[in-house]
């Protein structure tokens, strides 16, 4: 049952052949089986058991709340959960327990979903590897050698072992102290920042997971972990309770095994929230996708600027093959231009840093979170609290952001970045106005890289490389989805990104489902947990 999709699982639960409690137990067993991957920051297995028991009862009584009733889910640790600590992988929030649920969490709870835990991520979602977490890096399940590492895991607990945060070089970073030996660094990164949620779905721990996508933080790990990762239109899903990275770019995102599952999740989560003034007021009409899809009237654009310098051969050929498939099936495929794409990552960096500087100002140790011990003055307390609480990536972005927002720099950086943002949004708008329905691009430059390779450059360098194809979409506020398409020669997933028009999720996901049907992606198969023990 761990290999089933959400849709299939809902059916067996409804039929009664499997109970929510049995399913939950199996998922917990799987989570324990793959514990080395460091998926969770906080496990909520007891609560999940409780929720599953209640769901089982509802199914027996024939009073299922929703198709999600009894479905195990996981949630990125950036979403506030009432009574469950919410850390954003940061020391400053390590013991922070929110008094309220994020709207996305509440909607899942209200529909009977079973919450297994809060997933690991880059600190405050700043990163694209899920390696910069105080709880240690998340590991990609693909090509991961579980057997040999099994013993090591028992003696070396990974979780919650953060202490002595030594300042790291900005140029070259050392291995995270969670990674104990050179051999131990020989595994693949998950991508990020929502790496934990991507792995949770890929490894079969849950049927769906919540992430957040500011510059690619859902699509990037979805691509590396071989799952569907949807970034909906800005304003369609509520951000209330999502600890922000960049308010004007952040979007709650959805991880599932297949496109149909993403559609179910979207139907459960989308729509106006009075607690988030940036959500659209028009009611969202949930939809489902047909099994037989006709793409002959679909116009697919291939943006030439996405043929970037460091694009790997394998990714490029996967992209080309997908374009050919579409054309062969009767879709109109044409090359288009998004001329301002090269400026996008710089624009993103400025806007991101500026909002980070502002958003992080509240972490002063007074109302909540970590508080330093230097009480000699309020300023000294702030300085120590924030130095201890944030990693160097966060501190670096705060510094840069405050620089950009200074009165004498504001026009030169912030206003300029906003102008470029508009140009980028206009690029997309023009292409869509020209009759293109969706765009097809790579999601990342290559399949997942090894941890050893990844940490040879700093967070900023890696983020600029990793987000190159994904962040323009955030700047434009439009929806996009990663669809796993094939495996590389090394056996790692390669995903492609489809980009749609604002609030045209149905068109976007219809095309995504068609692609998914054609490629028949080989999902990760892990041995049954019962066989392992």
């Amino acid at each position: 049952m761990l290999g089933l999709t959400l849709k299939e699982t809902a059916r067996v639960l409804n039929e009664g052949s499997v109970t929510a409690a049995e399913l939950c137990a199996a998922c917990v067993a799987r989570a324990r089986q793959v514990q080395q991957l460091n998926v969770f920051i906080t496990e909520t297995y007891d609560m999940a058991g409780q929720q599953a028991a209640e769901s089982t009862l509802r199914h027996r009584q024939g009073s299922r709340l929703h198709v999600l009733d009894g479905i195990p889910v996981t949630i990125k640790d950036a979403f506030s959960t009432a009574g469950i600590r919410t850390t954003c992988s940061s020391r400053i929030l390590r013991d922070y327990v929110p008094p309220y649920n994020a709207t996305m969490v509440q909607r899942l709870v209200d529909r009977g979903a079973v919450l297994l835990g809060k997933t690991n991520m880059d600190e405050f979602a700043m990163g694209s590897g899920s390696v910069d977490s105080i709880f240690g890096p998340v590991r990609n399940p693909w090509k991961y050698n579980f057997q040999t590492r099994h013993q090591e895991q028992d003696s070396q607990p990974i979780r919650d072992s953060c202490h002595d945060l030594k300042p790291k070089s900005m140029q070259m970073r050392t291995m995270h102290h969670h990674v104990t030996s050179t051999e131990d660094s020989d595994w693949f990164i998950t991508g990020g920042s929502s790496g934990g949620s991507a792995v949770a779905v890929a490894a079969g721990i849950c049927k769906a997971a919540l992430g957040s996508d500011t510059g690619g933080s859902v699509r990037n790990p979805a691509s590396y972990c071989g799952v569907v990762g949807l970034k909906p239109t800005y304003g369609l899903l509520s951000r209330h309770g999502l600890i922000p990275l960049v308010n004007s770019l952040d979007v709650p995102g959805i991880f599932t095994r297949c496109v149909d599952d993403a559609v179910i999740m979207l139907g459960a989560l989308a729509g106006h929230d009075p607690k988030d003034s940036t959500t659209v007021s028009d009611p969202f009409q949930p939809f489902s996708l047909p099994e037989h899809i006709d793409i002959t009237r679909l116009h697919v654009g291939i943006p030439k600027e996405y043929h970037a310098p460091h694009l790997s051969e394998e990714t490029l050929s996967t992209w080309k093959r997908a374009a050919d498939m579409l054309e062969d099936a009767g879709a109109r495929v044409s090359q288009v231009s998004l001329p301002h794409t090269p400026y996008s990552i710089v624009c993103y960096s400025v806007l991101c840093a500026a909002e980070v500087a502002s958003n992080m100002a509240r972490y002063d140790g007074l109302e909540f979170g970590h508080r330093g011990s230097d009480h000699s003055s309020t300023e000294a307390l702030y300085a120590q609290t924030r130095h201890e609480g944030f990693n160097d990536v966060v501190r670096g972005r705060i510094l840069a952001g405050n620089y950009f927002l200074l009165k004498r720099h504001y026009d030169h950086y912030f206003t300029q970045a906003q102008r470029i943002r508009r140009l980028i949004a206009n690029d997309f708008r023009k292409v869509f106005e020209g009759g293109v329905d969706i765009l097809l691009t790579p999601t990342t430059l290559s399949p997942a890289r090894s941890y050893r390779w990844f940490v040879q450059a700093d967070n900023r360098t890696r983020t600029e490389q990793e987000d190159v194809f994904t962040q323009p979409v955030n700047l434009a506020g439009i929806p996009a989805v990663n669809v796993p398409v094939s495996l590389s020669e090394d056996g790692l997933p390669i995903g492609l990104q489809l980009i749609g028009q604002s609030f045209q999720e149905k068109t976007l996901l219809t095309a995504a489902k068609w692609l998914e049907q054609q490629v028949n992606f080989p999902h990760l198969q892990l041995p049954d947990p019962s066989e392992m023990s």
Binding site: F79, S80, T86, C88, L93, Y96, P98, P99, Y100, A102, R239, H240, G241, L242, I243, P244, V246, N247, S248, P274, K275, D276, S277, T278, A354, E355, A357, S358, M360, A361, R362, D364, L366, E367, F368, H375, T378, E379, Y382, N402, L405, L406, K407, Y410, F414
Partner: protein, 568 residues
């Protein structure tokens, strides 16, 4: 007496008409705001004052959260996750606060921006949980208004208009208040109360159109009355519902504006005046000593009567303003632009304009024109918030109470009782109709008009801001009854009068007996009268009043007394 008062009223009306005409012509020629009166500063110095007034919007809940607003609630009991800036919380704009802002802006003749924006203003302070304040820096709710007000001559007992002024309103913006910090020096602790954090403020910014402290104080008082009339702010400066920052500069006449110093957080109109007067003198001293005025932030130490530099890095603060990304632009509509089907959920300027109440300046003129009361009384009634009380008092069906007397009853007897007990008008337990009953008892002759002490001096001492009618003399029994009612006496008026034997004595026979008694006791006075000293009648009258507990009807008593004197 009556006719002269009446004559004075007519003059007032004419004067007030002239005034309003002046006001009109002024608003057409806005550029020529003032300078037709000279600054009182010595040595050819010219002062300039611009004000930034923070007015707390009267609203049940905060600007961006559902938390309640209440003064003096236990610390940190009115704090939502947003007010404490818990991560992930988002601001949701309170429509009531926007409506209050629009109504106020309309009253101040502002242009309402159909689209305005919110910004974040960053600084670190213990009572600012988010590390930024949400305000409207780039594009505020309203701009380019103006307001007129009179400066009264406070030095004389008659409240005369010294000059009429107009000040331009630069902008009106919505913003959040901060929390409160309490510095416990003894324990080296800072205590933070977030009850006020996130409460809605209107910041009203004027151009530097005022020349001295008196003008600025008069402007603040008039604004206070306007806000109270609108119901958008209670104007209570002692509770901090209205706080004033004054930008003060001096320069040689006809020169450009001097360097300004900002005096922050002044919490009464009187201190506005004092702070400005002190600060101008200080700046003149500095400049005449060939020094330079520093552009800095100061505060007013009211105990010392001085402004003191905060020596704070704050003036060098770069607030790193940034658009607030969680709030879409604030759009206000008109009847013509209001989206169909959403009329009830949007802010509509035309609908709000319809709710515009009468503003203080109009009320003052109306009271004079409609009721013929003195302009000073009208100013006092408006200034004390007694208009409704006054109008209820005189507007009783079938009982046309004399407005001029009624104004006096309210402004003297009623206010005396309130001030004696340090009560505000809101805490007044005697209703207008009850007061009216006592007034009627005097009118019907049930109780005597006989006077007691002259209380004017006492009254004046209580009223720092209000100049009262000088010639009014209290009716003694009336005050006694009113005093009992304020003390919570809930007997009926007739019971009170009966049990205290306060009913007026007008029966000639009874008065004759009393007069006989008095004359017998004061044979020396009777003797003096016989010798032609008619003045002793007054002393004898006084003795009769004393003997009757001031209940003898004066006219009858006087006649009876004179008759008896002749008989003797």
């Amino acid at each position: 007496m009556a006719s002269s008062a009446h004559k004075f009223c007519v003059e007032r009306i004419l004067l007030s008409c002239r005034r309003s005409l002046r006001t009109c012509s002024r608003s057409y020629a806005k550029a020529k705001t003032k300078k037709d009166h000279t600054s009182p500063l010595p040595g050819g110095w010219q002062g300039r004052v611009g004000l930034e007034i923070h007015a707390q919007i009267s609203s049940n809940s905060k600007l961006f959260s559902g938390s309640q607003v209440q003064f003096s609630a236990p610390p940190n009991t009115l704090v939502s996750p947003l007010d404490a800036s818990l991560p992930g919380t988002l601001p949701v704009l309170n429509r009531r606060c926007v409506e209050a802002g629009v109504l106020t802006a309309l009253a101040l003749n502002c242009h309402i921006n159909r689209r305005s924006l919110f910004d974040r203003k960053h600084y670190f302070y213990a009572d600012l949980p988010a590390g930024y304040q949400i305000t409207q820096q780039r594009l505020p709710l309203a701009v380019n208004g103006h307001m007129t007000f009179d400066v009264y001559d406070e030095s004389r007992s008659q409240r005369q208009v010294l000059k009429s002024c107009q000040v331009r309103i630069k902008q009106l913006q919505l913003e959040q208040d901060s929390g409160k910090s309490l510095h416990d020096q003894e324990n080296g602790e800072v205590l933070v109360d977030l009850n006020r954090a996130g409460v809605a403020l209107m910041e009203i910014v004027t151009e530097p159109d005022m020349v001295d402290g008196a003008e600025a104080a008069a402007m603040v008082k008039e604004l206070q009355l306007i806000l109270q009339a609108l119901g958008t702010c209670d104007g209570n400066m002692s509770e901090g519902s209205m706080r004033v920052d004054a930008n003060i500069s001096v320069s040689r006449s006809n020169e450009e504006l001097g360097t300004r110093a900002e005096v922050k957080n002044i919490n009464s109109a009187k201190f506005v005046q004092k702070a400005i007067e002190y600060e101008m003198q200080r700046q003149i001293r500095v400049l005449e000593g060939a020094g330079e005025v520093e552009e800095e932030t100061r505060y007013f130490d009211w105990k010392a009567g001085k402004t003191i530099s905060l020596r704070d890095k704050e003036q060098r603060h770069d607030y790193r303003y940034m658009p607030e990304p969680n709030l879409p632009p604030l759009i206000v509509y008109t009847d013509a632009t209001s989206p169909r089907g959403m009329q009830d959920s949007v802010v509509n300027i035309d609908r709000i304009r319809e709710q515009m109440p009468e503003l203080p300046d109009t009320t003052r003129r109306r009271l004079v024109e409609k009721y013929g009361i003195q302009f000073q009384h009208s100013v006092a009634l408006v200034g004390e918030g007694l208009v409704e009380y006054f109008e209820t008092l005189i507007d009783v069906k079938g009982k046309g109470r004399d407005p001029r007397s009624a104004a006096s009853w309210v402004l003297t007897d009623l206010l005396e009782q309130l001030h004696k007990r340090s009560l505000t008008f809101q805490e007044c337990s005697v209703t207008a109709s009850k007061l009216g009953e006592i007034v009627d008892l005097v009118g019907m002759g049930t109780i005597s008009k006989s006077t007691g002490k002259k209380s004017v001096v006492l009254y004046k001492a209580h009223m720092l801001q209000l100049t009262c009618p000088t010639k009014y003399i209290f009716c003694w029994i009336f005050s006694q009854i009113l005093g009992l009612l304020f003390d919570g006496d809930n007997r009926s008026l007739s019971q009170i009068i009966e049990e205290n034997e306060w009913a007026q004595i007008r029966d000639e026979e009874t008065l004759g007996r009393i007069c006989d008694d008095i004359l017998e006791k004061h044979t020396e006075l009777v003797e003096a009268y016989r010798k032609g000293n008619v003045k002793v009648v007054n002393r004898l009258m006084g003795e009769v009043q004393k003997a009757t507990n001031r209940c003898a009807e004066p006219t009858v008593t006087s006649r009876v007394l004179k008759l008896k004197l002749e008989e003797h």
